[in-house]
């Protein structure tokens, strides 16, 4: 007899405020929730699973200080932002650390991404695949969405030629600036490129340049299952990158997403095996009373959304999506 699902497994760190918003909604639905951080592996997280004989799905226990659950009874996984194993094992010598990290990734991580349930929001493998900007832009373009002309290169000559053909151009990093050893964080905001600054130091690594879109606003479209939330975002100074200013000054207004775009977003998520995504668009005015032109910028498959005006409804949508089809 198949075990009946009864648990939502929330994989994230204890500091994750976004997860709290969804867990509150799940608690209201009276489903069992277990919040587990793979980074706690050790006495803070124990597990044992078996496969074989007539058992074709991993079955066994996952134990945290506050829960002891049967993994085969997990009905859905809400995958958020677990603590990196490298942090958990930072105290170990290099070889021991690398061994423990890799074994935990493949053993615990491998089990958690291969549970009996197929309801992952989102599956970590899908998140990884969809995290690459070259993949995002390619899929968006193939689906017919407008994207900015884009160059990825480490060749300064190619960058100069692109700037000459498409200027003004902007630069954006793929992943941002790493944290420095002393813990300081810098930002690499999306920024306009002064062509004369392009030099041979581009050769060091990959760089992404795009034609600047003459936008009048941004749009954030958050898709959770079949539910679409959208905000038009404007900044008092018309900043190129709205993250660079005072978030309190951002103006959020409701915006209608064109049906054609919505269809593309669902197709985009389907392509990557995602059920949730945070899409960013640049909006260009095409004239008074004319609809804005929507240009796809990117999609964060594990984005933050708690700062948006609809966050309470979004949390409900996550709970609905997680419980759909198996919980009353």
């Amino acid at each position: 007899m198949q075990p009946s699902p009864q648990t939502v497994l929330v994989i994230t760190s204890v500091e994750d405020v976004h997860a709290d918003l969804v867990i509150e909604k799940l608690n209201e639905r009276r489903v069992q929730v277990v919040r587990a951080d793979p980074g706690d592996i050790g006495t803070g997280l124990m597990f044992d699973v078996c496969l074989g004989d007539d058992q074709v799905e991993w079955a066994g226990r996952l134990r945290t200080p506050s829960r002891d659950i049967a993994l085969e009874e997990v009905g859905a996984v809400y995958y958020r932002r677990p603590t990196p194993h490298s942090a958990r094992f930072a105290h170990l010598p290099a070889v021991e650390r690398e061994f423990a990290v890799t074994e935990a990734q493949h053993g615990l991580g491998g089990v958690l991404r291969n549970l009996r349930t197929t309801r992952y929001v989102n599956h970590p493998a899908a998140i990884n695949a969809a995290d690459y900007k070259p993949a995002q832009l390619r899929v968006a373009a193939r689906l017919g969405m407008a994207i900015p002309p884009t160059l990825i290169t480490n060749d300064v000559a190619a960058a100069r030629k692109f700037a000459a053909g498409y200027g003004p151009i902007i630069y954006k990093s793929f992943r941002g600036a790493p944290r420095s050893p002393d813990g300081q964080v810098a930002a690499i905001w999306t920024q306009r490129v002064a062509e004369e600054t392009l030099d041979d130091s581009l050769a060091v690594t990959a760089h992404l340049f795009q034609k600047e879109v003459a936008k009048t606003a941004d749009a954030r479209v958050t898709v959770i299952g079949r539910t679409v939330f959208a905000s038009r975002i404007t900044t008092p100074g018309g900043a190129l990158d709205w993250r660079s200013g005072d978030w309190e000054q951002l103006v959020h207004d409701p915006v209608d997403v064109p049906e054609q775009i919505i269809d593309c977003l669902h197709a985009y998520l389907d392509h990557f095996g995602l059920v949730f995504g945070c899409f960013d668009f640049a909006l260009e005015s095409t004239g008074e009373r004319a609809p804005d032109r929507w240009t796809f910028i990117e999609c964060n498959p594990n984005g933050q959304w708690g700062w948006l005006p609809d966050s309470d409804a979004m949390a409900q949508a996550f709970a609905d999506l997680l419980l759909e089809g198996w919980w009353p």
Partner: protein, 81 residues
């Protein structure tokens, strides 16, 4: 071997000003599985209004399986022109 700083990294801002810590400790409530945040004096910190503060540049990177491949970076989507 090229030893120059990558052009892109040279476009980074100065280190962002450090906000005061939002909380001193985070503890999981066993019954609800919700996090409870406390300041250094042990008083509860209401994170309800601090969602923005944990959204940009301060939180862990997404994706992976706790692998630590992702740096803690400006982690929400870029917006550009």
């Amino acid at each position: 071997m090229t030893t120059a700083t990558a052009w892109g990294l040279a476009q980074a801002t100065e280190p962002l000003p450090k906000d005061g810590p939002l909380y001193a400790t985070a503890v999981l409530d066993p019954a609800t599985q919700l996090a409870r945040f406390y300041d250094a004096a042990g008083a509860i910190v209401d994170m309800g209004d601090k969602k923005k503060a944990v959204t940009v540049t301060k939180s862990k990177g997404g994706g992976g399986d706790g692998s630590g491949k992702s740096n803690p970076v400006a982690d929400d989507s870029n917006s550009d022109g």
